[in-house]
Structures are given as structure tokens and as C-alpha cells.
Amino acid sequence: MQAVNNRIAISLLLLTEIYSVNQLVKHTIMKRNHYVSKLIPRLFILLLIGSVAFGTGGCKSKKKLAQEQAAKEYQEKVDKAIAELKAILNDDGTMPLSEKERRLADIKSQNLNDPTVNDLIRQVEDKIAAEKEALRLKEEEEARKKKEAEEEDSYQYIDEYFNAIATANSVSEANAKIGQALKLFASPDVPVLVIISQEGETVDYDEPTTIDKYLNYLKDTKNYNNRIQNIKFDDYGQITVLELIKK
């Protein structure tokens, strides 16, 4: 009796599955829905007959079926996880980082414990970590550039002095501008550093000079081909170190 009940239960299970498939299809193809719903009672009868007629199969085949089913489901999940992980690995940057992380979390939560999947998970984790680092660096670089641009804007008044001295029409005009510019500095001996090249950690400077000499240099050579890189001020707002960089 137990066996019969089981059989009926399985049949009902299958039926519900068919029905749920039907539910799914219903949303898309209405005509088919009608056809399938008509089919259900017939199928139900067929199954019932089938289950009675071949009921002598016993408990063993039922278990096997369930196991096979479970194994099949597991394999499907593994295949799906592998496909998704591979897709993430092959992604050229189209998929947003957050999406990659979400998918990875989904797969990890399934605890599939398949060696291939585990290996791919590690690879994807590395990839995500690398992408995160690159993103962080990019953001940092952007922030630095933004800050530089802001600083450049805020230092524009100093640049203007330098340009005015370099393009002065006469010595007296240049001297007057030098006098004005010097007031921005803590003393005429404030060091002026000029970066000539930057390569990774290595920064090469020209020989350090003083602001007084530098301003006169601009007057004599009419050569201002630098831009302001960094400025240090004292408590009175006067410049104590000026760092320039070759354009």
C-alpha cells in the first residue's frame, strides 16, 4: 500500500511539475496553454494506469531514480556555475564589478564543492581583486589629477606673475613685476625646485635655485616653460617652497 501511495505521490509530483511548466509557458504562449491544460487530465490518467501496471518495480528503482535526479540536478548546477564563472573570467570589462561579485557570491553560497568550480572560484576571486585594485588606483589617479587641476587653478595667479615677467616689454616693467611677485614669498631665498623628469619612483630635478634668482632668470631668458607642481606656505600664507615641473 505504501508503494502504491508513493507511486501516486511521484505521479502527482510529476504532474505538478508539468503543471508548473505549464504555468511558465502560460505567460508566454497562451494558445499552448489551452492545449496543455486540456492534456493534463489525460496525462494524469495515463500516469495512474502506468503506475499501477508497473508498480512491481519496487523501492530500489525509486531511490535510484531520485538519486539520478539529484545527481542530474547537481551536475546541472555545476555546469551552470562553471559556465558563469568562465564567463566572468572571459569578461573584457563589460560586466560591472558589482555584478561579478554578486554572481560569485551566488555560486559560492551553493557550496557545490566541485574541484573545477572551486578552482574557477579562486581564479574569479583573483580577477575581482585585481580589478578592484586597478579601480582603486584609477580613482586615486583621478582624484590626484582633480586635485592638481584645482591646485593649478588656485595657483594660477602665481603662474600669471611668471608669465608677465617672462613676457615683459622692458627691463623696468619686468623688475616691477619681480618686486610684486617677491611679496608672495617668505623671503627672496625661498627654494625653487624644478622637476625635469619623473619615472616611477625616480624624480630628477634641475639644480635647486632661489625665487629671487628664478624671477631674474625669467626676466633675462624670457623662458617660462614650467608649471606649478606643489607649493608650501607658512602660517602667514607666504610661500616657503615652490616646486615646478617642466611642461
Binding site: D189, T202, D204, D220, N223
Partner: protein, 193 residues
Amino acid sequence: MKAKTFIIITLLFVSFGFESMAQDHISPARKQAIDSLALEKVRDLSKYITLIGDKETEFSEAQRVIDRAVELFMEGSEVGVSSLFREGINYYEVREYFERLMRLNYSKVDIEWYKIEYVSDLERQPDGTYVGVITIFQKFSGYDQEGGLVYEDVTKKDITVYVKRKETQIAGKLIGFWDVLLGDIRVKETSKE
């Protein structure tokens, strides 16, 4: 105040003889930056020479510019001048050369520079300092009171450039810089058409 700061800065200029050993392999990009820096010093020199030679430049200004020009040079540098029609070379200390240029007896002087600048490789000498030669060409014209051209020549100037990596501490930061100093200059008159 100035002298004090100068002394402090001078004291801080610590040049490491052995440090230069680490500079054996300089990438082409860095080399180019050093070349440009050396070239800039030579261009500065040519601008100073134009100012010193210009009769419009006031005496005090010319003196100041001479000081600045001399600062570009390594101590004891000489200018060796030869002309087409005289044998031998006349030697001048750089300051003497600039002062002679300032005092030249023409009513008007035109000093022009050809655009061409030739930069040699930088070769290392035994003490590790790099040495190179930059060649530039100058056209000199001297006029009398009536504005007539009395003297004209085109000279090739081969200028020695010394480049040494040094380090100094400024505002608590270690600065690695290339000390570029000009050395002897060979002035050769070029053949006319």
C-alpha cells in the same frame, strides 16, 4: 640673511660620489630629459650673450647678466677662439670673454643664433661625471656710427657640458638633481662662401 641661507643651502648640498655609480643605466627617456636640461643651459647662455653684447643693455644690467652667465660655468672654464686668417687660438677666461664682448667698440652689435643645435652623447669621465658637447652657430655683426656693417662672422661654438647627479635636502625632503655646468668653449670661425 642671504649669506646665511646660502651657507646653509651650500652645507646641505651633499654630493655622493658613489651614488653616481647607481646611475650607470639611465633610460632613454631620462637621458632625453637630461639632454633637454643641458640644451636649456646652452640656450640660456646664448640669451645672456645676446644681452651682454647688445649696446642697448645698461652697464649695471650687463654686469648682473655677466654674473649670471658666469654662474653657468664650471670654475676655470675658458673660451678658445680662432679665426680663419690667424694661426693659433686665443684663450679667455669666461668672465673676461663676456667683458670683452660688452666693451666691443661698435655702435651697434647684432648677435643672432642659428636654430641648429647639435647634442653629443654624454660620456662618463673617470670620476663618474658625464661630459658632452653641444654645438651651436652664431652670427655676429658689428656696425659703425653711420650704421655701416664693419665686421661680420659666423662662428661654430662647441660647448662642453658637465652633468653630475647630486642630492640635497630641501625642506626636509631629499632632492636628487642633475647639476649641469658648462665648461670650455671652442669658438671656430666658419668658412664663408
